[in-house]
Symmetry: C2
Subunit: 237 residues, 2 copies
DNA sequence: TGTACATCAGTGAACGCGCGTTCACTGATGTAC
DNA sequence: TGTACATCAGTGAACGCGCGTTCACTGATGTAC
């Protein structure tokens, strides 16, 4: 059992330490993250960071990627902690996990879901991990449909044809389930819920609820339930 | 008819020119707006700006305030351009006006609704103008209720007591109408729609819809209709 | 097991840059008599 | 109407600062024989 050499392991640890320090710095600098600040916090000279990251943008990219991964992992863990038959429970667990993560890591949340960093273009690798949460929500709705337990309320506005076409394309690209199991109408409402989820969290994290809503957790929970009602998830047992 | 002196008028024009140049700069620098950049674009020396704004933060505050005012004015104008009896028409007009403004001024939108600027604290004056849009939406719902034309669909999730209390407080603070005209349930759904409105626009402006939804305008319109259904606004004549 | 060499982490000085803000100044424009 | 003075817009140099990145370096740690 040779495994990675000592040097390689020390190096990997150092990379983790740098990312951890950078995540802390994010709270001070915002997305205008300063390499020298990170180095200062670590008691290291700024140029030493170049042994680990070729440039500031690469460090930012690593944080971005890891942020999506951590958030996705938190959501996935929360979902699978509940029985597969408890569709609404899973739904609420995912929503709550996202909110909890955002509250625990507000600066990182801002990096992921706030204004794009000026002069920084996110590479393609960030697209897939960014989709984890909405895919989870769609899977929960699909599972409920497969159980025959999805009863969405009728609403007067039908799907416009171009929107239906977009949704159809997305459904066909899905790897996990057969297209017939997820009607366009359901995915459409899942998207509405996804927007509501991140819209509400963004309002809360960025302080736009200040002075209006004080019962934040109850408010959030209630609105996530409202969206679950809209999708037609069964009430909790 | 003396009016403001020539000097005062020239001065006021100059302030407008600076704000216009700063708004353009916002697109390049993001919220890390640079005074020297603004001055450069104007063909002026940076220190000259101090005749008009005591500091960079004051310029930012002016832009923030004006942004809220312009957005609110666009929404108000759109609403009043339609007959007061066409509740859903007014509703959709407000939503569309907000989206159009955001698309036309993405950098300003980012300043208003994106991540908070690090190290900058918005003064109290920005609270009132920031509320214009949600108040408009609430007024439209109230008007429909007064006409006896509000028929919200029944949804299983009731209002939790602390949420109801928060909403009650807000309703009682409202200057425009009697509290009885706006039930808590309705305001709650107006808030959901408000979150949906800005959540969706934020997704679109910040590029989070890239590669998924292509029929942006139809998608937006459809989802604003969905929220209007949820509130119970009558279908358009 | 011991020696010779290669690898690589971290240092410290330096680069060129842009930033917000201050200050003494020069002219031009206004005001008072 | 003309002169004397006050006001104020804009200049340009300077301040102290922090930034990302480069580069030659020094030691320590690893590898090959």
């Amino acid at each position: 059992m040779s495994g990675p050499s000592l040097r390689a392991r020390v190096r990997a640890e150092m990379i983790e330490e740098i990312k951890a320090a950078a995540r802390k710095r994010l709270a001070v600098d915002g997305p205008a993250l300063s390499l020298r600040g990170v180095a200062r916090d670590m008691g290291i000279v700024a140029s030493a960071l170049y042994r680990y990251f070729p440039s500031r943008d690469d460090l930012l990219t690593a944080l971005l990627l890891e942020g999506y991964e951590n958030l996705g992992a938190a959501a996935t863990t929360a979902a699978t902690a509940r029985p597969a038959s408890d569709h609404r429970g899973r739904w609420l667990a995912v929503c709550t996990a996202v909110r909890d993560w955002a509250i625990a890591h507000p600066a990182e949340y801002g990096l992921l879901y706030g204004s794009p960093v000026p002069g920084y273009r996110a590479p393609q690798d960030t697209v897939a991990p960014a989709a984890t949460v909405v895919l989870l929500l769609a899977d929960i709705a699909t599972a409920a449909a497969l159980d025959g337990r999805l009863t969405p309320p009728p609403l007067p506005s039908p799907l416009p044809a171009p929107v239906r076409a977009d949704l159809r394309t997305l459904i066909e690209q899905r790897p996990t389930a057969a297209p017939a199991d997820l009607p366009e109408e359901t995915l459409d409402r899942v998207f509405a819920a996804w927007t509501q989820l991140f819209g509400l969290i963004t309002f809360e994290i960025f302080g736009r609820l200040e002075g209006t809503v004080t019962a934040r957790a109850e408010y959030f929970d209630h609105h996530m339930n409202l969206m679950a009602d809209l999708i037609g998830l069964p009430a909790q047992p």
